[in-house]
Structure formats: structure tokens, C-alpha cells
């Protein structure tokens, strides 16, 4: 079980729990504002852009090449940007904090 906290652009904190699946799906299933996941998680829409808390970056890992190609055109893109459809939930991510980009 991993507890994952989303901080929206309106500074609302939403903490959710799950064991598997993508972080995007968890957010969409719980109506986290700013995570739309329009493409269902295949890395084609960039509507699930988040900033990963710095201390979790080693566990989450950097964006892959194709994901990076999408992210570099997004507003607010930085070293901690990820598309959360590409982050798989695991025990290791327990305590993860993500800032929703838009």
C-alpha cells in the first residue's frame, strides 16, 4: 500500500492510497483537479503533468525519452516534471508528494 499526496494549483492537499496501477488513474478515479488523463495513459496528451517532490525523485526516476519529448513543450516544465500516467504505483512510493502542474 502506498499513500500518495497530490497538491493542486489551488493548494488543496489530497492523499490517496493504492497498491497498483498508474498514478494518473488513481488521480482521475478520485477527481484530482488538474489531472485529466485524456488519452487513458499512453503518453499522448500531457494532461497529467506533475512535479515530483525533490527527495522522491531518485525513487520515481526521470522521465523516459518519449515522455520527455512531450514534457519539454509543457508550461512549467522543470527537472522534477513527470507525466504521472508513466509512474507505476508501488510500496516504494509510499509518502510520495506530487504538485499538480496545471
Amino acid at each position: 500500500m502506498a499513500k500518495i499526496t497530490f497538491i493542486t494549483t489551488e493548494n488543496e492537499r489530497i492523499t490517496l492510497e493504492s497498491t497498483s496501477g498508474s498514478v494518473m488513474q488513481l488521480a482521475v478515479d478520485n477527481d484530482v483537479k488538474g489531472i485529466d488523463g485524456n488519452c487513458g495513459g499512453v503518453c499522448s496528451c500531457a494532461t497529467c503533468h506533475v512535479h515530483v517532490a525533490e527527495d522522491f525523485m531518485p525513487k520515481v526516476g526521470p522521465a523516459g525519452e518519449i515522455e520527455m519529448d512531450m514534457l519539454e513543450f509543457e508550461d512549467g516544465f522543470d527537472d522534477f516534471s513527470r507525466l504521472c500516467c508513466q509512474i507505476e504505483i508501488s510500496e516504494e512510493l509510499d509518502g510520495l508528494v506530487l504538485k499538480v502542474a496545471q
Partner: protein
Amino acid sequence: MNKSEFPDPFEQARLEKGIAEMNDQDDPVKMVLRLRDLRKTAHNYKNFTSAAVPGRIVVPSEVNIRKTRQIPFELDPPVHTDYRAAVEPWFKRPLEEPYQAKLKLIIEELLDQMISLDRVEVVNEFALPLQSRALTLLLNVPYEEANLWISWGTHVFRSEGEALDGAKANILYDYIDAQIDNAIANPGDDLYSVLLAKEINGQKLTREEVKGVLVLTFAGGRDTVINAITNSIAYFAEHPASMARLQEEPEIIKPAIEELIRYFAPLTHMGRVVKAGTEICEHAIKADSRVSLCWASANRDASVFENPHEVVLDRKINPHVSFGFSHHNCLGATHARQIMRILLELLPQKLKAIQIHNAQENIESLGEFKRKVGFDRLEVSFTGHD
């Protein structure tokens, strides 16, 4: 060749040059063929504008048949940003459950009717009615309104010969004008009335702006949706195991929608007008010339997609651009994706098999290229479960 095969005519030009040129009514277009170049160009609205003379960014150009600016499509940021934000919530309504339930009824009723017939011509008897009836939900107008739209045929700007047809376009514009008049006299909860009441930065939308949103909604979602539906039917007719798999593994429906849309690329390309002379992929691009973002080519770019010419229904990473890219990504995509989702759920539930009897391909001419984008006619039999 299989009927559901959609060849990529751009491959050689994409690999060798990255750019191709086509003429269009004496206003030539340089087509951007590689995904990475296309994304950069689409994102750079400051030099590749959408806010040109109305109709000029469309290929074939509509400058001779349209004066109304399509909104928010033919605007650039920051003006575009405000207009897009104003209309976006309305176009997200397809995510709501009551909307989806009504859409399911529309598709279910049509499929049942098709099963009862010996033969069906998919473009005119299935895809066009489906698209038109679904559009009544997007506009929030009575279901019966679809009958008139169906009578207009598959393309609102083109007659049978595929050439741009000003008289036909006027039918649409006159219709929208009359609907706006109705909404002014009797405001309701339809898209016309909602737009007429909308304010952006304290200013009400003008009548011409309301018309611009409606023209975009009617034109942008017509042959694109019809192609996506018809081509999907052709695909599942020739791949029955894939149709059955949708029912056995419903988790692949979402990636399957994206993959079919990638492979078919229902809209081949969309233009921009160049503000200052520049280079794309080491080719000189002149000021005030046109470029097009060739979604269909970029979707087959082997430097990004593995086995780009194959339909891989559960493709995990699929950064296709069939819904465009960046600020101008398709406003109707939420609606289109819901149509596809419900169709892909219902097809294996309702049908045992689809058999193709006759097919007449719709081939676009784009300079040196000929691209199959869909069908003019697709005659099939739908066989239901016993």
C-alpha cells in the same frame, strides 16, 4: 491489399527530406512530416500563426468559401487562451455519466438497426447518423435535429466531387445564423444560448464569435468522426479476434482507441501561416507562406513508434498527434473518444462478425502523395450473436 490497411505514403519523403511541398489553389503548402519537427512547429505559435485570414490555415484552403473566423481554432495565444478556457468546460461534458448513457443509447439503437438489415453501407447508413445524433448531445439540442444534418451528407463543405463547395457551405452558415436567431429570441440550455450569454474579460461574445465556435464544432467533427467510425468497422471486420479481445480484456479499450486513431489519422494535416522567414529541418520557409503539420505522417515516424504501420491495440506508449498538438489540440476530442469507447464496448457485445462486401476508398491527393483517409462507401453485413 486488405480493406482495413491504411498505407503511409509519406515514409520515403519523411526519411529523406522531412518536408514535402504541395500546391493548393496557388497558395502552396510545405508539409512537416517528422514528429519532432511537427511538435516544435505546432508549439511555436509566435512564428507559425493560426490567426491568419479565416480559412487559410485549413488545407484545402477555405478562404474563398468562408469569412467567419473559427473560434478558438483560428486564434493565437494569449487571445486563444481566454476563448479556449471559456468553451472548454462545455466540451468536457462528455465525461459526465448522463451524457455517456445517452450516447450509448444512440449507438446501441443504431447497431441493433444495422443487425436487422441484410446489408449496410457504413458511411451513410451508420457513421453519418451516429456522428449527427451524437452531435445533438454535444450541442444539447433535440435529437430530431440530426435528421437535417444527416440530409446534408458526409462533408459540410464538399459536394460529391470532393471539391470545396461554397453553396453547400452556405447551407451550414445560414442554418447556424437561424439557430442563433432562435437562441436570441428563446434562450435555452443549448450551446448557442450558452455562448451568447458567455463573457470573456467582461465582454460578451459577439454574434460572429458565437457563429465561429459553431462552425468549428460542425465542420471539425464531421468527416473526422465519420472516418474514425467507418475505418474502425473495416478494421474489426478483418480482425475478428481483435474485436473479441475487446470484450475479454476491456482494459485494452482505452489504448485501443488511441491506437486506432493514431493509425487512421482521420485528419491528414492542418496548416499554419509563417510570420517571419525561418528553417524547418534545414529547409528554408518563407514569410507569409503556409506550412502544414502532417499528423498522418508523424504518427508513422519510426524514430518514435515501434512497428508504426501495424495496429497494436494495447500499444503502451503512443504519443500520436491525431488530435493535434499543443495549444490547439482538438476541442472535440473528449466527445470523439467517448464515441469510440462506447462503440468499442458495444461491437463485441452485439456482433459475432462483420463481413465486408464492397469498399470504395476515399483517396486524398496531396501533391506527389495519394493518401487513403477513409471510405466513400463501405458495404458490410453485421451479424449479431445468436
